[in-house]
């Protein structure tokens, strides 16, 4: 199963430095105790398995990890770091491994969903979350409760808060940083790149539906019909 049987102690740190920008270390300290997976909310509902991913990295199966669908299932709750007896900051490793995956062509579809609108909003207005409410149902509820037209600028006005506008100078500054450090180029690249399909390397999509249920408990997204979600709210892209 190993992609290349190597003595993993030889140059382990250096091999990882290349993969993770030097931001993650100590993966070789892992005891394989499995506490991370035991508390992991993503592992509860899918075949994502932090312990196994670390083991694969140590065995040299880097390709297997970065071509997997599971790599994109981490919640970033940092629970694994909190319980880890060896202080391995695994969420950081996941973030860095995702960059490595992008380098191999995997995951561009995932990144694209965030680029529009969040990254674009950051570049245009300086804030990642814009004042536009894209969820129709939320807008209706807010309109009803705040007795306004539901726009957040109106709600702010009622509270005596002026619109939040990042100053022109500040915008010019962050755009300069973005251009100079290659962030803008990456945004353009995200538009163009085609995703190389990922595979379920640690299980199958069927694992998602093996959820323990209480009596008569129904889960949204699993048990209801597709039509139950009316247009405009089903694919809620605003947080």
């Amino acid at each position: 199963m190993n992609e290349g049987l190597k003595d993993w102690l030889a140059g382990f740190d250096k091999r990882f430095a290349e993969l993770t920008h030097g931001m993650v270390k100590d993966l070789e300290k892992c005891l394989q105790c499995g506490k991370c997976t035991a508390q992991c909310p993503a592992a509860k509902v899918s075949s994502y398995n932090p312990r196994q991913i670390i083991r694969d990295l140590r065995m040299g199966n880097v390709e297997k990890v970065i071509s997997s669908q599971e790599l994109w299932l981490c919640f970033f709750c940092s629970g694994c770091y909190a319980v880890c007896p060896r202080d391995i900051n695994f969420p950081f490793a996941v973030a860095m491994l995702r960059y490595a995956a992008l380098g191999k062509g995997h995951g561009w579809n995932e990144v694209k969903q965030i680029k529009d609108p969040y990254a674009q909003d950051y570049y245009n207005s300086g804030l990642s979350v814009s004042h536009v409410e894209r969820n129709v149902a939320i807008r209706e509820t807010v309109a009803e409760q705040s007795r306004t037209d539901g726009r957040i600028t109106e709600v702010r006005k009622r509270m005596g808060m002026p619109d939040r506008v990042v100053s022109e100078e500040a915008l010019a500054e962050i755009r300069f940083i973005s251009d100079a450090t290659g962030m803008t180029d990456l945004f353009d690249k995200i538009e163009k790149m085609k995703d190389v399909p990922k595979t379920w390397n640690y299980g199958s999509p069927a694992d998602l539906v093996k959820i323990k249920r209480g009596p008569n408990q129904k889960f949204a997204g699993l048990d209801e019909e597709e039509e139950a979600a009316p247009a405009g709210t089903g694919a809620e892209r605003s947080e």
Partner: protein, 320 residues
């Protein structure tokens, strides 16, 4: 129990820089407005700046921008507070994570700091690393006795559940002021405000945002996870849940709304931010707290609020 050693390092000064989170600005403006009104009542002058932008953390952890791009953006935001000579108070776990992690990373590695400063020098700024980054919960906890003393609207008889948020306690298990597994800071603050803390089973579960979760993950992963948390929360039936992160607020608030909207469940626990809780206790008008922007209605919560006390204890507190 909070860590005394870590707590001693928190220094509350007369003026502090309020680092405004994006979700606080554009989804739940009450978070920012309430801390702006609460801080003067506690003797701290809040300072804000239109120069400050998004911390950049959202883009980093969603892999849309590399750390090499967002680190100068973080350094720039910190430099704004440094120019004023103020310590930073963040009210979002995400902002806290990125300001702390990246400044720490730069402080530990002088060559990295030098490269970042080369970029910043082109826009006429410099990151020195002289100021501290605090979370609002640390500052409020430090001022706990003052809050209890100046609470003109003690929230007697109100029940509050708590949700800490992963990126503060889990992500900083060695640096946060409280333990990652049995935290009590929010409960003590609720008690200081006159309320009663309520326990529920899934208290330490992640809210389910994790920065990317609703966006990247298919609903079959994210919704069952949230539903478990909400089931446990609604069983405890508190008057509100207190969170310390705008993203947790957005997730807990809007996912309940979404599930109700789909007629799967009938959840009704409103969610408020710690800033709003403290501002309420300190007697800030309810209209200024921005409850209208919340998806789960706070009408019943507001009806239940005790009236403002007009006793000797409820004197006007001088600003500054």
């Amino acid at each position: 129990m909070p860590r005394q050693e870590r707590l001693d390092q928190v220094k509350v000064s007369d003026r502090m820089f309020m680092f405004k989170p994006c979700v606080g600005e554009n989804k739940y403006p009450g978070i920012i407005n309430s801390i702006m009104h609460a801080m003067p009542r506690l003797g701290v002058e809040p300072v804000e700046s239109d120069e400050q932008t998004c911390c950049g953390g959202f883009l980093t952890f969603t892999n849309v921008a590399e750390p090499t791009s967002t680190m100068p953006a973080v350094a720039r935001n910190v430099a704004i507070a440094e120019e004023m000579g103020l310590d930073i108070v963040t009210m979002c776990n995400g902002c806290y994570t990125f300001l702390t992690e990246f400044t720490h990373f730069m402080d530990q590695r002088p060559p990295v700091k030098k490269v970042v400063n080369t970029i910043l020098s082109m826009i006429g700024r410099e990151y020195k690393g002289t100021q501290q980054v605090y979370h609002a919960v640390e500052v409020f906890y430090k001022l706990k006795d003052r809050i209890a003393e100046r609470a003109v609207r003690p929230l007697d008889g109100m029940k509050f559940a708590t949700h800490y948020g992963c990126h503060y306690l889990n992500g900083f298990k060695n640096e946060a002021i409280d333990d990652a597994f049995m935290p009590t800071v929010l409960e003590e603050l609720i008690t200081a405000c006159g309320g009663t803390p309520v326990e529920y089973e899934a208290q330490r579960e992640c809210c389910g945002t994790g920065l990317t979760q609703v966006i990247l993950h298919k609903e079959e992963i994210s919704l069952p996870h949230c539903q478990r948390k909400f089931d446990s929360l609604n069983e405890a039936a508190p008057d509100a849940v207190v969170v310390q992160c705008p993203y947790c607020l957005a997730q807990l608030d809007r996912m309940q709304h979404k599930l109700n909207w789909r007629k799967i469940t009938d959840y009704k626990v409103p969610v408020i931010h710690l800033n709003q809780l403290v501002a309420l206790a300190l007697g800030v008008e309810v209209e200024k707290l921005g409850f209208g922007a919340h998806a789960m209605s706070l009408d019943r919560f507001v009806e239940k609020l005790p009236p403002l006390e007009k006793t000797a204890g409820a004197r006007e507190v001088p600003v500054g």
